[in-house]
Every structure is written in C-alpha cells, then in structure tokens.
C-alpha cells in the first residue's frame, strides 16, 4: 500500500568520499585489533587516553583560532610575501575549504592592479595584516 505522500527514508549522512589526492587506507582507519573484553590494566589506558584527548583539544583550539583569524582578515588589506622576494598587497576575500587558494581583490602587483585574483597558498611564504 503506497500513499501518494510517501516520504523518503531519512539518512544520517551521505557516504564519505575520497579525501583529496590521498589514496586512503589511513593507519587509524585500518582494521585495528579488536578491543579485548577485559581491560589489561585499568589505569594505564586511562592515562594514555588523557594525553591523547589533551593533544586533540589543543589541536582543536589552534584550528579554531586559525579559522577565526581568516574570518578577521576578510575585507582587510593583507601583505603577502611570495617566492623570489616578491611582495604584493590585496584585500582578502575568502579561502577554499582546504586553504589551498586565497581569493583576493585589488591585488597590487609590480605590473599593475588585478581586480580579482586567486593566490595559490603554496606560493605564499607569509602574510600579515593589521587588525
């Protein structure tokens, strides 16, 4: 029996796809030995876990700080130091999800001003801006 208003089965998320150019088979995704039923020493694993979660928390904090710094940069004048001693300035627009490219406006180059441009992050050595 099908009612005309049948709804699609909900899903938790979509299947994960390939990660960039990696070939996968990540060591932490590999089939780890199955957890033993009885923990070997109750204290040792707890300490190990504590260190791991501390590190993970630190990483999360640093990542969040970096993302916020990118947000703060939007619309501001940024000076980029590129290879071969090249310096350019531009107004920062956006970055892509992998932080592989920066979208900038009014890029001042030695040969003129480019209204819009994409700077490859791999070409950037450093960048500074004033808050």
């Amino acid at each position: 029996m099908q009612t005309p208003l049948s709804s699609p089965v909900p899903v938790l998320r979509l299947p994960r796809g390939p990660q960039g150019l990696s070939r996968g088979f990540a060591p932490d995704g590999r089939r780890a030995p199955l957890k033993p039923e009885v923990p070997e020493a109750p204290e040792a694993p707890a300490v190990h876990e504590c260190q791991e979660s501390q590190e993970q928390r630190a990483r999360a904090v640093l990542r969040e700080r970096y993302l916020r710094s990118l947000l703060a940069m939007v619309g501001r004048q940024v000076s980029f130091t590129l290879h071969e001693g090249v310096h350019v300035t531009a107004h920062f627009g956006a970055t892509d999800v992998d932080v592989a490219n920066f979208y900038v406006l009014q890029l001042q180059t030695p040969i003129g001003v480019q209204a819009e441009a994409l700077l490859r992050c791999s070409d950037i050595i450093a960048y500074t801006f004033k808050l």
């Binding site: 029996m1 099908q2 009612t3 208003l5 049948s6 709804s7 699609p8 089965v9 909900p10 899903v11 938790l12 998320r13 979509l14 299947p15 994960r16 796809g17 390939p18 990660q19 070939r23 996968g24 088979f25 990540a26 995704g29 590999r30 089939r31 199955l34």
Partner: protein, 350 residues
C-alpha cells in the same frame, strides 16, 4: 506511512563503474570493491559506502574486481593486460600477474590460496597465491573472450562465461564437464554457493540454473536489456539492472516484479546483494555506486527510521525492550553524530 527508497550515492569514480564485489562478513563488518574504467578500483565499507582507499597501480581500465572472504586481499583485472593482487588493509600492491590480453575477471577460492583469472585471451588461469613466481595452470577451450570466471562447488569446479556459452570445468582434471549455449550475448553470471545456483543474464532474460548440472531452474523476462542480476542470500528476492537505468526487484518464487527504482543517470553495469542481504549495490555508466535498502525504511547502516509524531495511538515510548543487536546498532549509528536528532529509539513496522 509508506516510505520511499533513499539510495545512497557513493561518488569518487570519474568513469563508468563496471564491476563490484562484496567480501564476506568479517569481524570488522563487510567491504565492497568497485572496478572502474578510470583504472582506480576503490575499497569501501560495505554497510555505509564510506570510502576506505583506492588501489593505485593499474595503467588501464579495471574490468573486474574481487575481495577474498575476510577482505584481507583484493584482486583486480585490467585492460593493461595484468591482474593484480592487493593487500586490502594497507592498499599495497602484492602481485602483478602478466597476461597476453585484457583481463576481465578475477576470483579467489574460499581459502584465498588460489586466484582464477580470465579474459580476452580465452584462457582460464589458476595462480597459486603462495607461489607467485610459479607459472599458472591454464585451461583452454573457450572460442571467444571470457567475460566472467568463478569458482563453484566448494572450489572443486569452475564456471566461465564467454559471449555465447557458459561452461563448467572440473578443477582437478582441468577439463570441461558441461556447457550451455545461448543465441544472445551473455551479459553477466553470478553464483550463490548456498543452493548451488547460477544466475545468468542475457538480453531481457534472467535465468537460474543449477551450478552443479547446469540444468535450468527458472527464468524471468524483464522490460529492458539486463546487464546484471543478483539473488538475495535467502533467495527471496532478486535485483537486476540494465540499459534503461532502472533497478528492478523481483520476488524469486513468484517472478512478480515488486519494485523498480530510478536514480542512476546511465546504464547499470553491475548489481550485487551484500552478504547479509540487507542492502544491494549498483554500479553504473554514470560513474557512481548506489546502495539500496532491501527492506525500505529499516534502520541499517546510514538509513535511520523515524516514527511520525502523530500516530494512530501507538506512540513511540522512550523505554522499549529491544533485542540487543538492534540497540547496539543504533548506538553505533548515533555515536557518529554528536547531536542526535531522534530522541526515541523507533521500532520498524513491517
């Protein structure tokens, strides 16, 4: 309220997906390998479709792919005239087996000790996995390129299909036991060990034969040219897909067409049921793999059933006794999402 099938699309391939295979059920779940014309076969978690890794190394289209029972090894057959054996845990290439023409099919024995390969050179080859340097045993007899070759009857026999014939060979004597002829091109062949059933598709027909005697059991006609069909492990349903881009589901006993699903944007090249029969995967010319539920609306893998808020009187109670396995499954699924949308654990109404 009736639920509509939500297929899960697995992207990643850039060219048509021409073959796919599931592993057996392992302590880590089950796995899926897909062969693609882009030359990069991929390994995925079987119940979710999550990508695990890509086997890199082939220099041409990959026509066939398989996993051994415990998903520790993978084998692929390619247009670069080689078959390769891979470590399915690390993704590393273990062996490259040179052939004299395009290789189309690969199959491991149950114990993973032997690999059967077949292709355009019209030969069946048996490689000993423990002696990779040794020459394979060869069986000749086919008069056109072999599309598929499978071990059967407890690895004592071999089934092989070329354009117009399906042949049964004895492994020990390496001789032909029986053969079937068709006046139409055979598009696919699959084998179910439990019950020794052989599934053959040709034109718009899906035929079932005994894998032991090759005697016909039954056959169904479909609305479109079928490229692949798969029988459910419990032999209740079969699914098939072909040139009209649709997936068809039939009742195996009555032959009645139960459902048809649109979704793919190109002809379907391969269809397989998972080892537990809960889902089936389809690979298409459109470059995607799709996962489909056998029982639409059931909580499984990434599919999560939700009861409607207003009900006929049977409200979803927060504390219900569920069999242990279901609870564990739900917990596993819920843990992937930090904030669960669904507060109560639902029960599926058949």
């Amino acid at each position: 309220m009736a639920m509509r099938q939500t297929p899960l699309t697995c992207s990643g391939h850039t060219r048509p997906v021409v073959d796919l295979a599931f592993s057996g059920i392992t302590p880590y779940g089950y796995f899926l390998i897909s062969a693609c014309k882009d030359g990069k076969p991929m390994l995925r978690q079987g119940d979710t479709g999550d990508w695990i890794g890509t086997f890199l190394g082939h220099k041409g289209a990959v026509w066939g792919a398989t996993l051994n029972k415990d998903a520790t090894k993978a084998a692929t057959a390619a247009a670069d005239f080689t078959a390769k054996v891979w470590d399915a845990v690390s993704g590393d290439e273990l062996m490259t087996l040179a052939h004299k023409h395009i290789v189309k099919s690969v199959d491991f024995t149950q114990d993973s000790n032997y690999l059967l390969t077949a292709g355009q050179d019209k030969l069946l080859r048996i490689y000993d996995m423990n002696k990779p340097e040794a020459e394979p045993k060869e069986i000749s007899g086919h008069t056109s390129g072999i599309k598929k070759a499978l071990w059967c009857s407890d690895d004592k026999q071999i089934l092989s299909a070329d354009d117009k014939t399906v042949r049964l060979w004895d492994h020990a004597t390496m001789t032909e036991v029986k053969s079937l002829s068709f006046n139409m091109s055979v598009s696919s062949m699959d084998y179910i060990p439990e019950g020794e059933i052989l599934v053959i598709t040709y034109g718009r027909s899906i035929a079932f034969h005994s894998a032991v005697s090759l005697e016909p059991i039954k056959s169904f006609e479909t609305p479109a040219t079928i490229n692949s069909a798969s029988l459910h492990p419990e032999k209740e349903f079969l699914v098939a897909g072909g040139e009209d881009f649709k997936l068809y589901k039939y009742d195996y006993n009555s032959g009645e067409e139960l459902e048809s699903y649109k979704g793919h944007f190109g002809p379907i090249h391969c269809v397989r049921f998972s080892p537990d029969g809960e889902l089936y995967a389809s690979g298409s010319e459109d470059g995607t793999l799709r996962l489909w539920q056998t029982v639409v609306g059931k909580t499984y893998g990434l599919w999560k059933c939700v009861l409607p808020e207003e009900d006929s009187g049977e409200l979803a109670k927060p504390k219900i006794n569920f069999p242990e396995t279901t609870e564990e499954e739900l917990e596993e699924i819920a843990s992937e999402n930090s904030d669960s949308i669904y507060s109560s654990t639902p029960e599926v109404k058949a």
